[in-house]
């Protein structure tokens, strides 16, 4: 894998670049739809390609539990299993065993946890997370990290930084010592921790950068802390992270968060927001976020979003999509998810174009002012 930096904006740290993988190239900054359990909810693979997504996410914790690593391995890897021939990034399971699993017990060895599905007991370690991700065959593997919650105390965060570094070494070692499953290249991103404590962030970056060659992830944010503290932390990380590697801000976020983070040098994003909010009837449109379940759309026969690059923005009226939600029809979930994912991808295209044209600094300022007037943006 290779990352080439293209253009950097002047006032802000916004950058464009290209990430080359064996499954295709990715223009950055990029948004990656979340396909947690092997599907971006409601979406078929051609539809994601039609929106022009270049990379999607999968999740180690979820795929390990269902359908299980061996089934995916026998299918020839996750790309084949889910019929997606473009790049895939997999999260390590670290975040889920802390946030989702029941009764997790953490030790230096790894995390013992109970499945959120059936209560069955499992153990995830840096080594087993690597083994699973190897078998999944993702192009970008995440290190197994310790991600404390946003309200964790100082000593927990300090411990998590140390533990994450130790685990990172074991991840690298396991990948070095064990053979590949498939012919394509798989690279490892470390995940930096440290909460919103800048000293710990610095320590985490310094300890992890030596293990990082292809890219680095910023974890432990968007876990309940204040939005300003999150942005200050990203801004701080930007000053000390290597410039020649892509930075992936995990689990973020709203459209305005993406712009603010790009201003602070972030290159890669993922978030369930476009699909999850879509399924709840919250649709990101060029006129702001609308709740399509709202009574006021009952007789509104105007198109969903004439500015969307997706034809469904003009194909379907607000009245019809409201009706589909009202009758609990899957097509409604699909339309909202599709328009939201398109909105996110359109936004990334605009971001890249403005950086490349040298207009990002002004464009991002005025876009953020506009977005600040719309709840949910």
């Amino acid at each position: 894998m290779k990352f080439t930096l293209h253009t950097t904006s002047s006032k802000y740290s916004a950058r464009t670049g290209i990430l080359e993988t064996d499954h295709g190239n990715i223009k950055t900054p990029v948004f990656m739809p979340v396909g947690t359990v092997g599907a971006v909810k409601t979406m078929g693979p051609e539809e994601l390609k039609n929106i022009d997504f270049k990379i999607i996410l999968g999740n180690t914790y979820h795929l390990y539990l269902r359908p299980g690593t061996d089934i995916i391995n026998k299918a020839g890897g996750l790309h084949k299993f889910i019929s997606w021939d473009r790049p895939i990034l997999t999260d390590s399971g670290g975040f889920q065993v802390f946030s989702l699993a029941r009764l997790n017990k953490i030790s230096n060895d790894g995390v013992e946890f109970q499945s959120h599905l059936d209560g069955s007991r499992h153990m995830l370690t840096p080594e087993s997370s690597m083994e699973i991700q190897r078998k999944l065959g993702s192009d970008i593997i995440m290190a197994f990290d310790h991600c404390p919650s946003g309200d964790a105390d100082q000593s927990t965060i300090k411990d998590s930084v140390e533990r994450t570094t130790n685990w990172m070494k074991r991840c690298s070692e396991w990948l070095r010592e064990n053979p590949k499953c498939y012919s394509h290249d798989q690279v490892l991103f470390p995940i930096i921790q440290g909460g919103i404590d800048l000293k710990l962030r610095k320590q985490s970056i310094e300890q992890l950068v030596e293990h990082s060659s292809c890219g680095i992830s910023i974890g432990g944010l968007a876990v309940g802390e204040e939005k300003n503290a999150m942005m200050d932390t990203i801004e701080f990380c930007d000053t000390i992270l290597p410039k020649d590697q892509p930075r992936y801000l995990m689990g973020v976020g709203r459209p305005s968060d993406l712009i603010k983070s790009v201003q602070r040098g972030v290159d890669m994003f993922d978030c369930v927001m476009p699909t999850r909010n879509g399924r709840n009837g919250h649709v990101f449109t060029s006129d702001g976020v609308i709740n399509i379940r709202n009574e006021k759309y009952k007789d509104d026969h105007s198109p969903m979003d004439t500015q969307s690059s997706n034809s469904w923005g003009t194909t379907f009226s607000k009245s019809y999509v409201r009706h589909l939600f009202n009758i609990s029809e899957v097509l409604g979930l699909r339309i909202a998810s599709t328009l939201n994912l398109t909105f996110y991808n359109d936004l990334m295209i605009q971001i890249r174009e403005n950086i490349n044209n040298g207009s990002f600094d002004d464009w991002s300022d005025s876009t953020l002012v506009r977005m600040s007037k719309s709840k949910g943006m």
Copy 2:
């Protein structure tokens, strides 16, 4: 609207023809997907076109309750509301007020019923059913009929035949005396009743044919009677129905039922089976019906159906689709519905080709033998 008969098979009464409407031509025999409440469940309009469906169904009872006739009228009719520019046939609500609504009270005037959704009280009459269908703007309007259940006694069926004839006259009259809502042509099909009583069927046909100019529907079948009795009734109707009008057998059925009914001169079909069964994991494939939830497909990485004319038949493996059902992922419902609808349309294409080639008699016999070995076909 115009129907032109093309080819008739020699041993059986199978026929091909073309039904011309202002929204496009329909080759018969044809299968019409059911879009009860303004959507063929899980499917977008382009996807239905991609399978090459030429006509879909809507339902007066359901659309009257949700979203309401006025909203659809303001949208410019059902075609515009649901973004479907090909022909639409609407059922009259007759079947639903008897089978679905709570506490229906029938009189010669019409049917008073309580909504199955909220218990609200409504009245549907031949006139109001016509008014709703006018406003919906369907290309083919169904007469408001009285459809007794399969276990109704002789006198109920006799009454229903008389009532259906009286109501048919009122339907014709209302349409004649009231102005069109839209520029396109809308035609009325009477619905013949009479259960499996051939004398009553004859009476119903004789009474209704004089009101029929464009096509005629066979109602009151597939409501719980024996399959053989149903086929005998269709065979009888075939002998006395006008040859120059298309015959629409309502609510039928399994793939083998379609072939048997085409042998007996039927031209048009609708059924929820491909979509409803699909959502339950029952997939019609060239190897028979499979229940994709079955444990045995867990590690079966073979494609869903290599013989399907839809690319999804080879895109997705049984193991993956089973996994999607296992995680309750909408994409699974979509794949099963799409493959089932494709199976039905592929079958109709084969039926038409064989009739046109003069090979239908033998082909249908051998196909029925093959299907009889597969449960659910």
